[in-house]
Amino acid sequence: MKSRSRSRRHTVVGLVLTALMLFPVYWMLNVSLTPQQDMRKDPPDLFPLHPTFEGYRAVLDDQLPYLGTSLLIGLGTVALTLLLAAPAGYSLAKLRPRGGGALGLILLVAQMIPGIVMAMGFYGIFLDLGLLNSWWGLIIADSTIAVPFGVMIFTAFMSGIPGELIAASRIDGAGTFRTFWSVVLPVSRNALVTVSLFTFLWAWSDFVFANTLDGGGDLRPITLGIYKYIGNNNQEWNAIMATAVVASVPAAVLLVLAQRYVAAGVTAGAVKD
């Protein structure tokens, strides 16, 4: 009896703490629904009593192309990352190439390099190659955030695949590639999902590379859409916050659909810039 009331007290405290933590998210939603004339009201409306969808209409009018670009770049980055990371993880986990340990160390160090330094280096290279302001140049740059992480996740996961499974596939006459494609990859579904989710989210959220390498392109991602809003019309905060809400949708979807993968990714040493 006593423990049940204590549990209830904990739940109440937990709810209060969560509400405090998520207040900025609530505030973003609230401001996105606030009419422009109430924006500078003192005191501010704590609840959207007179909700307006002006802000969201502005998103539809101005931001759809940016959202499309972000989707394209996100998916492209996921494809590139999987293509590089899954075979490498397989090799490091099961085929044991020479210098595999050193490669693991390099990947760990690679994750620690500041994004701005990479951005500056890429700027020079892209300028030479004429890749500035191109969406696929941005895919290459964004993939550098995710590839080392992806290889590490795949290596860790595939190391856990029992050797007998692979030996059995060999006895069936499958070559290395066939074993990789039809035995190892299907078994590694969890790792595939985790890597894909984080890669998409990071590419979707990237600002440093976008601002440096794609500032003047025809196809710019949503992070620059928001940034441009902030720079241009400092006043229309409902439109800015509405765009922010829309830009947060992938994160929300991820949390609802794939919560356990998210926690797995974080604890696997996954770290965002």
Binding site: V109, A110, S248, A263
Partner: protein, 331 residues
């Protein structure tokens, strides 16, 4: 590689399953080739083939940009010579220029304050929450998942939301302070408060990471220890002091060091909220580097790259420390 070995076909081995089809059967060609290339060598080549794309990628898109950056910092670039690529070698001149710059001291100090204050708060709050959520109550898993949201949001979303909350005239933070009898604070507009503001926002973003890692560390502490301690009449605080905190030390070390490496290089948040301003009041090495290279109409790529390389050096010191701690724990 494996495909080409299989594709050659050959007489079926008796043991092969009838339904497995010709393409899946091992063949004499492969065996013969294996005889020419020793099996060990072939295995090694196969292993290499699967990491080769990654190696090429790392060379082209990690090593080369880093080399370019180093090159930038050792030459005297102007906009024209940046495009033409014929800037003269200038040795350490850019580094000297940067170290003598009046912004260097403040940027270095802000980087350290930003990093250490952020981490201290993120860790303490994250640990407290992890211990709290470890007391299995109703809704705990759901609430814990909701705590991840700040970490998953795109930084531009968090940064612009906090910017508006910190707005001097219409921000909700000043509105709440008004209730506590505190006059309006120019959070992002006053040089005294800009750094504090970005630190607050950064703590908010970093709490989930600390919570998740420390919570997973708590799962590995055997429950019997707490049961025994409770039988001995240990209070909750004593249990934390004597069991939780000492046993969590390895996980704590990893969390703090990783946090250090990743907080040092925070750029987006500060750039979006204050651009390092007003003046230099919230500029860190990361924002200053970007400011030099891209923030003005007359880019100073050389000094910008030099600051970036100094930042890498600092990050690597803590990064290698992290790797050492991690290796020792695994051993």
């Amino acid at each position: 590689m494996a495909v080409s070995l299989r594709a050659r076909g050959g007489p079926p081995r008796p043991a092969a399953k009838p339904h497995s089809g010709a393409a899946r059967r091992p063949d004499r060609g492969a065996v013969q080739r294996g005889a020419r290339l020793s099996p060990a060598l072939r295995r090694r080549l196969t292993a290499l083939a699967y990491v080769l794309p990654l190696l090429v990628y790392l060379a082209a898109f990690y090593l080369y940009p880093l080399y370019r950056n180093l090159d930038l910092s050792l030459r005297d670039y102007t906009v024209r010579s940046f495009v033409a690529g014929d800037a003269p070698f200038s040795g350490w001149a850019n580094f000297r220029k940067v170290l003598d710059d009046p912004t260097f001291g403040p940027a270095m100090r802000h980087t350290m304050v930003f990093t250490f204050v952020s981490i201290a708060f993120q860790y303490v709050i994250g640990l407290a929450l992890a211990v709290f959520f470890n007391r299995h109550f109703r809704l705990a898993p759901t609430l814990r998942a909701l705590f991840l949201i700040p970490w998953l949001l795109p930084l531009i979303v968090s940064a612009s939301t906090w910017s508006w909350m910190f707005n001097s005239e219409s921000g909700v933070v000043n509105y709440f302070l008004h209730f506590l009898g505190v006059g309006p604070v120019g959070w992002l507009t006053s040089p005294d408060w800009a750094l504090t503001s970005v630190i607050v926002a950064n703590i908010w973003i970093g709490i989930p990471f600390n919570l998740v890692i420390l919570y997973s560390g708590l799962q590995n502490i055997p429950a019997e220890l707490y049961e025994a301690a409770a039988l001995d009449g240990a209070s909750a605080w004593q249990q934390f002091r004597r069991i939780t905190f000492p046993l969590l030390r390895p996980v704590s070390a990893i969390t703090l060091l990783l946090g250090l490496v990743y907080t040092l290089k925070v750029f987006d948040l500060i750039w979006i909220m204050t651009k390092g301003g007003p003046g230099d009041s919230s500029s860190t090495l990361a924002t200053w580097s970007y400011q030099l290279g891209f923030g003005t109409l007359l880019p100073k790529f050389g000094p910008g790259a030099a600051v970036g390389n100094i930042l890498i050096l600092i990050a690597l010191v803590f990064g290698l420390l992290y790797i050492r701690v991690q290796r020792r724990q695994e051993a």
